[in-house]
Amino acid sequence: MQPHDVCRARTPRRVTIASAAIGLVCVLSAAGCADGPGPGPASSPGASGSSHVGGTVTVFAAASLTGTFTALGHAFEAAHPGTAVRLSFAGSSALAQQILAGAPVDVFAAASPETMSQVTGAAPTGRAVPVVFARNRLEIAVPAGNPGHVTGLVDLTKPALRIALCAPQVPCGAAAASVFVAAGLTPAPDTLEQDVKAVLTKVELGEVDAGLVYRTDVIAGGDAVQGIDFPQSSAAVTEDPIVVLPDAPNPTAAEAFVALVRSAQGRTVLSAAGFDVG
């Protein structure tokens, strides 16, 4: 499940030997090795004055951040030549478990403070204190044309309609649960997906009449999905915290990446995707 530790080579001397292994592991795992060539040495100077930012920075981010963090990863690599950003997107809880199991990760961006606290503990100190960099809220996503004639949250209680929600164990599912509690409704889901992108996919394919996803996912879904806002969504505004992990193999680059996410440039990317960064 975790190719990351094998996919990184820490010193240039090992690179040639490692590349064969990297190739093999990447073929076998088919994940996590998509970003560019092997990393340079951790101390290689950048060309644009960023003297100590280099090497590879490994970022685990919630599935809802797929588009924005991919863009920010490219921006980071452009700003710091010689660096490589390795991104892994999945449900926040799955990522948290991988980090707890020892995945060598520099930066973790979760879709909820609760999931973040699984990694940082209840009372982190110093650098290990996560900061909220964006807020998101739920929206109803329906396939283009709205075949189920969904107009509001109450439609998600109709057994006749096909409904996809996130499993309550992942942040989008927890947010959905609080929205339904706030509205006094009992949803009638047909499937509880592992992360928000899986819900979005089922909507895009038209396999469900409606799904509860983040507003940012509706925007990411493009023409295939339509978003329907509902008043109760304010009951569960989710916060996305980010942190440089205490065991980060490359803390300097990790700090720089977090700084980029929180910079004006980062905020522009995030708000264009539908995040609330105010």
Partner: protein, 254 residues
Amino acid sequence: MMVPALLGLAFLVLPVVAVLLRTPWSALPHQLARPEVLESLRLSLVSAVLATAICLLLGVPLAWVLARSELRGRGLVRALVTVPLVLPPVVGGVALLLLLGRRGVLGQYLDAWFGISLPFSTAAVVIAEAFVAMPFLVISVEGALRAADRRYDDAAATLGASRWLTFHRVTLPLVAPGVAAGAALSFARALGEFGATITFAGNFPGVTRTMPLSVYLALETDPEAAIVLSVVLLVVSVLVLATLRGRWLSGVPR
């Protein structure tokens, strides 16, 4: 030869040993008594049995055609049969969705004409499992058919038995061990199915959440429960393997 062989064995066995070492045995009865675990186990067993039945019903004739008929292009058919074997299960799930989903190539007509919508139903679980498991049965039965002595069939035919009578009174009993081995393999594969199921059938307790899906979901929040569920799956799989013991493993009668 011995060293790599031992390494190979260790590679296959040690992960399982790790699960057993980390199993919270004292918590086992409590975890096993949880209604959602029993529900998940029941759903897994029922859908795997049904999937195996489909594999037998469709797979045995397919194996017979591959082994005994003079059909042209049998090599191509055999290659096609093994496609689900090499296809990543998630891709299989996407393929099933695109064929049988509500807007799928066939699924749209099922929905429009009969009001049948397969995704997110237990039927979808069975279909996904049969899709990934059937190649095991076909390959196993075809091997047995090729190894069986055709002269018994010829003898039956010269004594006036029809093709069907020959098949089910002579051929099938001869290859019964191969069929049983194939069925057991298919059952085990169906029981462990994850990727195609979660993609095509979704994940809902009591309807589509089989044991592997429960393990995956439990791993997100309750690793102890995930380990217990894994042990249960492990035990069932080992039981299936135990029934495969001896002559069944070879696929030919002694």
